[in-house]
Symmetry: C2
Subunit: 418 residues, 2 copies
């Protein structure tokens, strides 16, 4: 009990400091923010030894799973990438202060709508130290205070990083706060502090996102889970379909825009199922199939998919394949099982493509291209904070601009409403 | 138990019908939607007797508070206003299908971002039959299915209205669903059906909004509560201040953009407090004051404000007045107690005004004008669905466009990511 109460008091004190900082950050000019960001990059470089030593302590802890060790590990090359990321954010245009619209009321009042920072942004994430810096730096550039709650495995690394960033001259006290990662109490406090925290962004696996979505009373931007589909139409160029499926699955299987499912039109199934199964297995992918796939590729090493497979994001070199009776059946299957992230159709038929692009209810819908392109960098927005799979506020890759909100300023000369 | 389970099953069936309808609505052209909307207006006019008779049944129920009776009552004039509202929505531009951006990737893919309907919109509201039609019609024009959960006092009126609107030729089954209002179970089911419902908008008093914000797992657009402030600076034109304060308080005290608090700079308090207190009392307003106001207006009928007053939205002919030491104290007080809806400064000092407009963290901030202007119609957007007091998705008055989301359509020729 004492520990819970202590965490609560400590968390609230940090949120109050963040609110005070947000008020100062909102008034910094673009030049001031960019100068501080450059100094942050320099400070990380200058303190590389300190960061690596804290990281080594984290890595020395027992019981780390191999996948966590890989994400958690820093080295000079990774620090250089993080520093490069800061300079990329310096180069991005500052959305804050931009006038979105300006109108004059019939009574003479001028009504200006402009872009302002959100205020206090909370990020809940796992053991990825690059996210710590990315999230802090993007939030700072958008004029927000950020409250970070990282994974406990990265506790010392995150403390070192936040201390270095916060110590840079010109960073207001409270601009970058790090919450205790030793219990879930700090997460609970962060995501239920409505009125203190303006938005919470979960970044990580499905469990983390589901937990935040379920428990939060603060507004949330849902990110990331991607059960992405490629549908091969009966009018597909099958050579192209091979290329797209193998790329979407194997280029980087652990990320959210990787393909997890393939649907094949019945009209080409007999010809294409054995071929794509063979291609995928040759590329090192474990293939699961529905009854029709099992029947059409009997000699090959395919496991029967169960009901759960269709809604599962493997994030691994695994894929499930089903045969569908029609384009509309493919659309219905995808709208039922997908996480509304990214889906693709491969077809030479423009009408089929148009129907798919219209009816699929996902953030990004592709005609004859790999789902792997759903990414802030690829879409031309520079750094991204995440990929939103919800429909409010932003959808798809989001970055600086989506870390802001708007405000109306009305300039009158004594107008009243009759 | 049986009743709860029955409500749950019935609600889910309605949500499933709404999802099916949303898919059809998303493909209707602007002309098709406008023709159906005009037919809805005609149908309401043609069925006026049926509506009024259902409304009379609702009004005949016992135990109605006077304030509810007023909101609930329909008559030919109010029905004519509702019909006029539908024609206003017909006249608004359709946001659906608009291209927001279109870029070409270095690899030749065309990346189009366009506006699409949200899908299924849930509205939880009180006993206002005009909201039933407004919400249904705005949602329809934006291509969404709507699921309405109105107050139980208006149950028969809402059933009649929804039946008439749904029976219009061309309205897909499920496009306008009405949930059972006899228990809270239907609200619970609606606001926790994540994945089925795309957004919930609560419209009503603070209790209703707080309940929805606390319990919802579906994304919410928070609306309406307005503890609005007018700050009278030491450089104010006091004649103008009188006019603005009396208008902002008395023009329509029950609405959310009415002023609830007045802050007065110490430098003019001795002169101005007795004067504004007198003006407000003459206008029929009950005045509460802090210790300084009580001291400066001793002969007048002012009650001592307690701690709770500063955060209370009276929605009535009541106001509380406090004296502040400085512009910054006024800003701090407002950012602490306001609901972030609408606030005004009265001053002739442009620097003070600029600081106030910058530092106040509310949806609409006024210089020398009444807070009463925060309204979709006044801001030039036509009909509004509500006034958002949150920062995500939309802030301030929102209407058709905010009932949509975006989607990326990517047109490739076989591109894969290297």
């Amino acid at each position: 009990m004492i520990s819970t109460a202590t965490t609560q008091v400590a968390t609230r004190a940090k949120l109050q400091r963040a609110i005070a900082a947000a008020s100062i950050l909102a008034e910094l000019s673009t030049d001031q923010k960019n100068a501080i960001l450059r100094a942050m990059a320099t400070a990380l470089e200058a303190n590389q030894e300190k960061i690596l030593s804290a990281n080594a302590e984290d890595l020395a802890s027992s019981n780390l799973r191999a996948s966590i060790t890989d994400r958690l590990t820093l080295n000079p090359k990774r620090i250089a990438e993080i520093v490069k990321g800061i300079h990329a954010i310096v180069a991005l245009p500052d959305p804050v202060g931009k006038t979105i619209s300006e109108t004059v009321h019939a009574n003479g009042m001028r009504i200006r709508k402009l872009r302002v920072p959100l205020g206090v942004v909370g990020i809940v994430f796992e053991a990825r130290p690059n996210v710590t810096v990315d999230a802090a730096v993007l939030s700072f550039k958008a004029g927000n205070a950020v409250v970070l709650r990282g994974g406990r495995e990265a506790a010392r690394t995150n403390e070192a990083l936040v201390e270095i960033l916060s110590s840079v001259q010109g960073v207001p006290e409270g601009a970058i706060e790090l919450l205790d990662s030793s219990s879930r109490e700090s997460v609970r406090e962060l995501i239920t502090s409505r009125g203190l925290v303006d938005v919470v962004i979960p970044r990580g696996g499905l469990d983390l996102i589901e937990h935040v979505m379920r428990e939060a009373t603060v507004p949330v931007i849902e990110t990331g889970a991607g059960n992405c589909h490629v549908y091969v139409d009966d009018s597909a160029n099958l050579e192209m379909a091979n290329r797209i499926i193998v790329n979407a699955k194997t280029d980087r299987p652990s990320v959210c825009n990787a393909a997890e499912k393939v649907l094949i039109h019945r009209g080409i199934a007999e010809q294409y199922v054995p071929r794509i199964v063979k291609e995928l297995i040759a590329a090192g992918v474990e293939v699961r199939g529905d009854a029709e796939v099992m029947r059409l590729a009997p000699a090959q090493d395919v496991r029967a998919a169960n009901a759960e497979d269709w809604s599962t994001e493997y994030s691994d070199l695994k894929i499930a394949i089903a045969v569908v009776a029609s384009l509309d059946d493919a659309i219905a299957h995808i709208n039922r099982y997908s996480t509304k992230h990214s889906e693709a159709i491969v077809t030479e038929n423009a009408e089929h493509a148009a129907r798919f692009l219209q009816k699929i209810d996902s953030a990004a819908v592709y005609w004859n291209a790999s789902t792997r392109f759903t990414d802030g960098g690829e879409f031309g927005y520079g750094s991204e904070m995440g990929i939103s799979t919800q429909k409010l506020h932003c959808r798809g890759p989001f970055g600086l601009r989506e870390l802001t909100t708007t405000k109306y300023q009305i300039f009158g000369t004594g107008q009243i409403r009759a």
